[in-house]
Symmetry: C2
């Protein structure tokens, strides 16, 4: 699970995920959208793949990356579990404190 948060810890990788929301994009298209070199982007893709946040598909010479919503959803669930904000472990300190 550390891989997921590690992947989410970089602004470029977060932006890649955002762009992938609209649909799959090729490595080149993604690389073109950021002010870093293609090899650097390729490494970011690898990091996202290792975290299972994206998946790669070959289409001839180009490789298309696609969002993997499942794992991201698990990450959300984990953050919620970590903070106990899923509605079950509600602390008994009622928020009846008016200000």
């Amino acid at each position: 699970m550390s891989d997921v948060f590690q992947a989410l810890a970089h602004p470029v990788r977060r932006a890649v995920l955002k762009r992938l929301r609209s649909g799959p994009l090729s490595a080149g298209e993604l690389a073109d959208a950021f002010p870093v070199s293609k090899p650097t982007m390729s490494r970011h893709f690898q990091t996202l793949k290792d975290a299972n946040l994206i998946r790669a598909e070959r289409s001839g010479t180009t490789i298309r990356y696609r969002l993997n919503v499942t794992v991201a959803d698990e990450a959300i669930a984990m953050v919620m579990d970590m903070l106990g904000r899923d509605g079950r472990d509600e602390d008994d300190s009622s928020e009846g404190n008016s200000t």
Copy 2:
């Protein structure tokens, strides 16, 4: 925001957050629960503080750490925004997923 995910990227820090769900704990109590030295734990606390995930309060000689649910909640919202899962139930059960 990178700070939040960076803080979440370490298993010890995630475990600290989990323990803090039950209520505030002192640095010593937290340090005692993990197989790393106190200075190392202190640095983890600093990382979590920088990310605004926890807050510190002095109680005499001891320092008590308390969960800051607000920022964690924002992190959840951000992950949801990143993946387009902001609570809208756009994907019905008719997904036709085959592999």
